[in-house]
Amino acid sequence: MLKVENVYKTYNSGIVKRRQLPVLNDISFEIPSGISVGLMGDSGCGKSTLARILIGLLNADSGRVIFDGRDISELSGIEKKKFRRKMQIVFQNPESSLNPRMTILQNMLEPMIIQKLYSTTEQKSIVLEKIKTVGLSDNLLLRYPREISGGEAQRIVLARILTLNPSFIILDEPTSMLDMSVQAQILDLLKRLQAELNLTYLLISHDKRVVEWFTEQTYLLKNGTLHKERSEKHKGLS
């Protein structure tokens, strides 16, 4: 489903004296559809940079990212917007992932509004459906992001991504700021959704045990290069 070929990325800093920080060196890997792949590495090593390149928020210096057979850098504006329906990302900090000046309802309607999907009534009923899918009650809808907990916020982020029916979700340290018990709840929810909706995940995490529990394949990003850590047969639901 996702194929990464020879991606390089270097950060340039300084205006007078240009310094180069090579972050990604010849990164190539493949993620088949329907499974969970893990990406590990020390803080600041480039995992998040790679995630942003995959999702098209950042451009690689060279190399290709091929999603569903298309090189994402070659997509037209309209095609790129459609691509965004299929591939989404969940960030590490749930509290800053939602627009603090919009209610939860408005935050949840954003993806569908931006992508111009469905009528207004359909949008509202999809919101109600998805908020139930993540186990939250609809009386959260009129609150603001600062009024809900981190675990709830992360679930809202997930719920609104689901309104687009994506096929691939990048999870960038989705639970590292949450309690261990909430982490278990959210990872379990993700696993169930994967089975129901045939989702593919890329899980970025620094926690080896979490990655082993959640994923079938793991890569390690070290000094800018990718190493395959392990590969198992497709896991059933635990």
Binding site: I15, G56, K81, Q88, I89, S97, P100, R101, E110, Q115
Partner: protein, 271 residues
Amino acid sequence: MMKLITNNLFQTFFVIIMAVLILITVFAPMIAPYDPTSVDITASLQDSSNEHIFGTDKLGRDIFSRVIYGGRSSIVLAIIATMLSMLIGMTLGIIGGLNGGRIDLLITGIANIFMGLPGVTFMIAIAALMGTGVNSLITALVINSWAGVSRIIRSKVLVLKKENFIESAQALGASQGRIIIKYFLPNLMADTIVLFAGRISTAILSLASLSYLGLGIQPPTPDWGVMISESRSFFRTVPLAIMGPGLCIVILSFGTNSLGDLLRQYFESKQ
């Protein structure tokens, strides 16, 4: 809300007084006992009396009426000038902050140059170039003020740019325009309002200074700065000729400043 007021009695007091003053200037035609420009040499230089609460000036004009009418131009001009400088400053600040790189460098450089200009001196130069009158006043005020606004807004934009919810919006496919309008602007609202209140305060003082120097509103239109200037020669006889407009300038300037401070505390408590 009540807590905010009780913790800041001094400022709240000034805000209330300022509000009263503004109301008085708005309803000037109904409150002022005399026409502010009507001259009566026979009544000149009288101290406060029952007929003339603040006394009369050299030309026999009622000072109280002139003070009340005097605020109108100051307030209106200050608001217009501040709005314009906020508009320019915010636009450039957002463009610079969002784009980064060379554009940001260019805008910041220009802003730095403007911030380095000596305020009042430069305003005098502009007035000299463009002649006196409303246009040159507003131009002078805007030139003096926009750069500070752009710098503050730009730094806030830089902070917001890194927030996950902006990136999330981009990942969802939102257009740059939508992100600016629905994501940046609402989150800049608090800073904008506080900045606005604070800058009106400065504008009022600058206006008064320029008018005092004869570069702003021209007589016979009543204006506080002009009145202070005119009264220099006779204020020992009629002290209220200077103290009246002087006090009003202080109240308005301090009041808007206090309002800005209260608003800032209010928004901070909402975080």
